[in-house]
């Protein structure tokens, strides 16, 4: 029904999203609305349900209750690969690259999916060379030109995250879900990846889970705070810093 995208202010919405694991509610009755073209951050203390929420949105987990609307279309019942095909692509907390493929090949795997021929077992893989140019462009875009021929496993951690983003961009998604893009990174890498995210946000809607609050404050247009599986507060960083409940959740419980 929902091909009225231009008027749709919200690209992704959840209604009463709930995930129960044997009596424990990891995510409870979450109503999330992500505005098109924004960077939306999901924060909260450990165990607040952020990653579970991500897994629900990308269908890696099945919700116990609630619905998920993407561009007005109900995607609650779709398979994860189908969600990706609609342009809602996720990253993972642990850097998700194909370790023994080169950076170029990593990106090419993504390009190849959209253009078909992925089942052709009788053709030489040299037919994939047609994607090399586009793959090189994407790598250059995230500052990885020098790593084109390097197997992903040999790249520094921060560069792997950049490669992951390049691979995601290769799908030309409408919306990216980044699960802790800064996890395990040093200062220098954080600045680079933050600048990269800021830059790509001009074209894509981004929902990210992130622990690093300075990154969140610099990048995010809007922030949703989760605690114990529920939405505690939502607003801009400035609003939230004034919110007593948020302070308590972080200083009281999380960072005691």
């Amino acid at each position: 029904m929902g091909e009225i995208c231009l008027t749709d202010e919200f690209i992704l919405e959840t209604h009463g999203l709930t995930k129960e694991f044997a009596g424990f509610f990891a995510v409870r009755d979450v109503n999330l609305k992500v505005k098109r073209g924004t960077i939306h951050a999901l924060i909260g203390p450990n165990g607040a349900g952020k990653t579970t929420c991500f897994n629900l949105l990308t269908k890696f987990l099945k919700p116990s209750a609630g619905t998920i609307l993407y561009k007005g279309q109900d995607i609650t019942a779709l398979a994860p690969a189908d969600v990706a095909r609609l342009g809602l692509v996720r990253s993972f907390q642990i850097s998700a690259v194909f370790p023994h493929l080169t950076a170029l090949e990593n990106v090419r795997v993504a390009l190849q999916r959209q253009h078909g021929a992925s089942f052709d077992f009788w053709r030489s893989k040299s037919v994939l060379d047609q994607y090399n140019h586009r793959a090189e462009e994407l790598l250059e875009d995230v500052g990885l030109s020098e790593f084109t021929k390097t197997p992903a496993v040999e790249m520094p951690y921060g560069r792997k995250r950049a490669l992951e983003i390049a691979t995601t961009l290769a799908l030309d998604p409408e919306m990216m879900l980044l699960d802790e893009p800064m996890a395990g990174m040093g200062h220098e890498d954080i600045d680079k990846i933050a600048a990269l995210i800021k830059r790509i946000s001009a074209k894509y809607t981004i929902l990210m889970v992130e622990h690093n609050l300075s990154v969140v404050s610099n990048l995010s247009d809007i922030i949703t705070v989760l605690t114990r599986g529920k939405v505690l507060a939502e607003g801009s960083y400035a609003d939230l810093t004034k919110d007593e409940r948020v302070k308590e959740a972080y200083l009281g419980a999380g960072h005691g």
């Binding site: 990308t58 890696f60 398979a79 994860p80 690969a81 189908d82 990706a84 095909r85 692509v89 996720r90 990253s91 993972f92 998700a96 690259v97 194909f98 370790p99 023994h100 493929l101 080169t102 090949e105 090419r108 795997v109 993504a110 190849q112 999916r113 959209q114 021929a117 992925s118 089942f119 052709d120 077992f121 009788w122 053709r123 030489s124 893989k125 037919v127 994939l128 021929k149 197997p151 691979t167 799908l171």
Partner: protein
């Protein structure tokens, strides 16, 4: 991923030319075998098992799926080909076609069931399915149960090549092996092979890129089963019989052993592994039942000391891809 697949050799880099040289050497050696006085029956048998192991390796080495029931493809194709030749009086090429297609059909049916699970569960389902088939073949009249199908006429391939002449048979088997080997090599280095490797390396990520990974695994399984069946059909002409041994689970175990000894996820490893194991069975036959013990010991040593297998260790040492 299982610990076994973690040892898989990385994607070929400057590998193409290395593999080409290795292929030329292998082909040259195999071409001159009849001149060297090596027992040709042994080499033909080893070639059939080498193709079988290569087909198996396509699935585990590049798809990350450990099948513990690959003997069912070998045996099924063998029975189909043997029956077509002996009872229906088909020509060799038609017999091979029927055997291979039979294995392909079996691949589709068992694949749809097995592919739903991963790791140890996948291995157990394939084992269970092959055991199920073993009992079917034990009971159905056309296989002649314990006796097997004996005295199969070899006939004339394409009406020209007299397969009862050992030298002709040798080159026909060699041609069949090379055809299968090249097909597998191509599949590994195809657009499909790239996706398969990506799935082996990181399946959740492949899914998040929009790949329906089950479909790729199913195709790999069917291809692997079909080529294993092709090996089984060729073997009928060498052994001139089709028996329960080829569907027994110990055969599935031997396929795993050959691949591990030679080098999992390497292109030439399974070939070397098959020759080593078949040679052991051939030349250590004097030790009787002890062959099994020796094989077991070699398996343990292999896993403990050179986990990458013969070719895998060589490739690793020279930083080449073979």
């Amino acid at each position: 991923m299982t610990t076994i697949t973690e040892n898989a050799i990385p994607e070929p880099r400057r590998g193409t030319s290395d593999a080409m040289i290795a292929f030329v050497i292998m082909t040259a050696l195999l071409l001159i075998v009849p001149l060297t006085g090596v027992y040709p029956f042994f080499v033909m048998q080893a070639l059939c098992f080498a193709l079988l192991a290569c087909a198996f390796n396509l699935l585990i080495g590049y798809g990350g799926l450990l099948s513990f029931g690959h003997a069912m493809f070998l045996g099924t194709a063998g029975y189909f080909t043997a029956h077509a030749l002996k009872v229906w009086g088909f020509t060799p090429e038609l017999g091979i076609l029927i055997g291979t297609l039979g294995a392909a059909a079996l691949g589709v049916i068992t694949g749809l069931i097995a592919i739903r699970r991963q790791g140890i569960y996948f291995a157990m389902i394939t084992l269970a399915l092959s055991q199920l088939l073993y009992f079917v073949y034990l009971q159905t009249p056309f296989t002649h149960g314990e006796d097997g199908i004996q005295g199969i006429p070899q006939g004339f391939l394409f009406g020209i090549f007299n397969l009862s002449k050992p030298i002709t048979l040798y080159y026909v088997i060699l041609a069949g092996f090379l055809l299968g080997f090249l097909l597998i090599y191509r599949a590994i280095n195809s657009p499909f092979g790239e996706v398969l490797k990506a799935i082996r390396e990181n399946e959740p990520r492949a899914i998040s890129l929009g790949y329906k990974t089950d479909q790729y695994k199913l195709l790999a399984y069917i291809l692997s089963g079909t080529l294993a069946g092709f090996a089984g059909s060729l073997k009928v002409f060498v052994a001139q019989n089709a028996s329960l041994t080829d569907v027994h689970w110990t055969m599935s175990g031997e396929i795993v052993l050959m691949t591990l000894v030679g080098g999992l996820g390497t292109i030439f490893g399974p070939v070397v592994g098959a020759f080593v194991i078949i040679a052991m069975q051939q030349y250590l036959a004097g030790f009787g039942q002890w062959v099994t013990v020796i094989q077991g010991a070699i398996f343990v040593i292999c896993v403990l000391t050179f986990r990458r297998g013969v070719i895998g260790e060589i490739a690793h040492y020279f930083k080449r891809s073979l």
